[in-house]
């Protein structure tokens, strides 16, 4: 008996060590990307991936509380516009506008989520959809300040050099910090309370979890990072137009999250990576990218409903079950 527990402990520790090793290796690999690929286009794809990873991960954080918001793309747009307008028309440095964009998105998200928090399931989805569309159209109709349908052009950039390498490192750092914060939220008491609300808000409320408070908190945190991602997009991309943040943008964010898996923290990261980096391998079929993405989405939905991130877990549990059966046979 003692031997078995000792081996189990050793295996558990080894699993922890391998996890840390994998994460360290991944971060090192990411840090060396600009040295490996020297074409600016590849780096551009990587930078966009980093921005959308933040947006998708923050969307998933709201989804863990059991409501699908359809305004996330619009909040990203709000961040982008706040950052763009402040740095272009008021001459604020982009470093500060990044934070201001995130804070403005968070404030508006919090304000609207107080009345919205009592709406249920699809009513929440629909009203957030209207709010997102209305907000974007309000921004678009502000004429001179936001440039209408053409948007803002020539936004001041973060770095004066034309190279994309500093952007890559800066955004990599921001993404890692954001993911770390979101992960801490996820594994803390707040994260568990949100999951409890997702499973049954009635039971969660009856054991003393304030449903409204935690839903508002989830939306506030999610919108903060959506605004941050929008601000990053504005300073990196130099132009901001309403087309990049319409309903389609939100739908794509949801596709990223679903392909990766809603129930897993790594889900949005894997989903975004797959959908952004895969099109590089079939560059001849560029215009068919949406079909391939949708095909992946349907494949995932019909086969692994919990997303690509759930596959390792499924494999592990499959082997464990087999081993358990085997040991039972050996013992008898």
């Amino acid at each position: 008996m003692g031997l078995i527990t000792a081996t189990r402990d050793l295996m558990k520790r080894r699993k922890n060590i391998t996890q840390i090793f994998i994460f360290g290796a991944l971060i090192c690999l990411l840090a060396f990307v600009p040295l490996i690929t020297n074409s600016p286009y590849n780096l551009h794809i990587f930078i966009l991936t980093l921005i959308y990873i933040i947006a998708a991960a923050s969307l998933r954080f709201i989804i863990t509380s059991g409501q699908i918001p359809l305004a996330h793309g619009a909040f990203m747009g709000l961040g982008a516009y706040v950052s763009g307008v402040l740095s272009k028309h008021f001459g604020v440095t982009p470093w500060i506008t990044l934070i201001v964009a995130a804070l403005v998105a968070m404030c508006i998200g919090t304000l609207i989520s107080f009345p919205f928090a009592r709406l249920k399931a699809f009513y929440y989805s629909m009203i957030s959809l209207f709010f997102g569309v209305g907000m974007l159209q309000a921004i678009e109709s502000m004429g001179k300040l936001t440039g209408g349908i053409t948007g803002i052009t020539a936004i001041p950039t973060l770095f004066s050099s034309a190279s994309k390498v500093p952007y890559y490192y800066c955004f990599l750092a921001l993404t890692l910090i954001s993911l770390f914060i979101l992960y801490r939220f996820e594994v803390s008491r707040i994260g568990w309370n949100l999951k409890a609300i997702d499973q049954s808000y009635l039971v969660a409320g009856s054991v003393g979890i304030s449903v409204v408070k935690y839903r508002v908190l989830a939306v506030a945190v999610g919108c903060f990072f959506a605004g941050l991602a929008g601000g990053m997009y504005a300073t990196y991309n130099v132009t901001v137009s309403p087309v990049s943040f319409d309903m389609t943008a939100t739908l794509w964010l949801i596709i990223y999250v679903t392909i990766g898996g809603m129930g897993n923290f790594a889900g949005p990261i894997i989903g975004t990576l797959v959908l952004f980096l895969l099109p590089k391998y079939y560059s001849g079929l560029k215009q068919y990218t949406p079909f391939i993405s949708a095909a992946i989405l349907f494949l995932v939905l019909y086969t692994f409903r919990n997303g690509l991130a759930s596959i390792p877990g499924l494999v592990v549990s499959f082997y464990k079950k087999r081993r358990k059966v085997k040991t039972r046979i050996d013992n008898s």
């Binding site: 009592r118 629909m126 009203i127 209305g134 596709i255 949708a294 989405l297």
Partner: protein, 292 residues
Amino acid sequence: MSDATILLLVASFLNALILSSMYILLGLGFTFLFNIMGILNFAHGVIYMIGAYICFILATTVGMNPWLAMLISVIAMGLFGIALERFVFRPFLGDINLIIVVCIGIITVLKNAVSVSQTYNVQMTPPFVQGTIKVGIVSLSRERLVIFFIGVALLILVLLFINKTKQGLQMRAVAQDKEGAILQGINVNFISALACVIACALAAVAGSLMGSYLTVNPYMGDDIMIKVLEILVLGGIGSINGVLFAGLIVGVMDAFLPIVVSGTQTQAIMMFVIVIILLFKPQGLFGKEVRV
């Protein structure tokens, strides 16, 4: 009142009626699917767009009579509805969030299929009827009147179908209580497929008519989907009276507000009006308590 004002008001009034009838046709299809299968078909706007495109391509490139083109488009979308129910909705029944994601997949596929294969020029389906009618100083396009009458006739037919025929009554039974309906020997899968066919066919009719009234483009589905969702949420999801009433309100606002303010401002104002109404009445004007 000068002549110009009267002309403007009459034209806006007719616009309001046409827009309302089209919104109501789409909203009724959506309500059917929600009541009978418990799903929110966010892809309804894209189905409308595909219906419009089938009619447009048959009427221009193939050179068919527009009426025949519309009929073929309706039949094609009806068959598409059967496939949709069997292969897309049925495997995911019961999980409302997954259904939303599945609909997003359908939207992506169909919209991109159209935007990859079609051009972005301003294009319209050829008119179904030509000429104008003169009433006093006001001259009305015959086509608009025809579109309006088709819309109203279809509405009456659908309402008669639900309330008078056997299948319609079965539909209402399924909407009330699915298990009870099964126990009474109603084939729920057949009724679901029927609801899908009716919803898709109504969307195709609306698309074909709007293709000649407005323009045909790959994004026409998005705009009208948001309008339809507004109507549904305003009237209360699942309530047919709510769809009729809210459809009229939104159609009138849509036709008369652009006289005063610009186009994007109209949309923004309507969105915020609806959000504010819903904050005080979350179930919509005619809705019952939300079933989750």
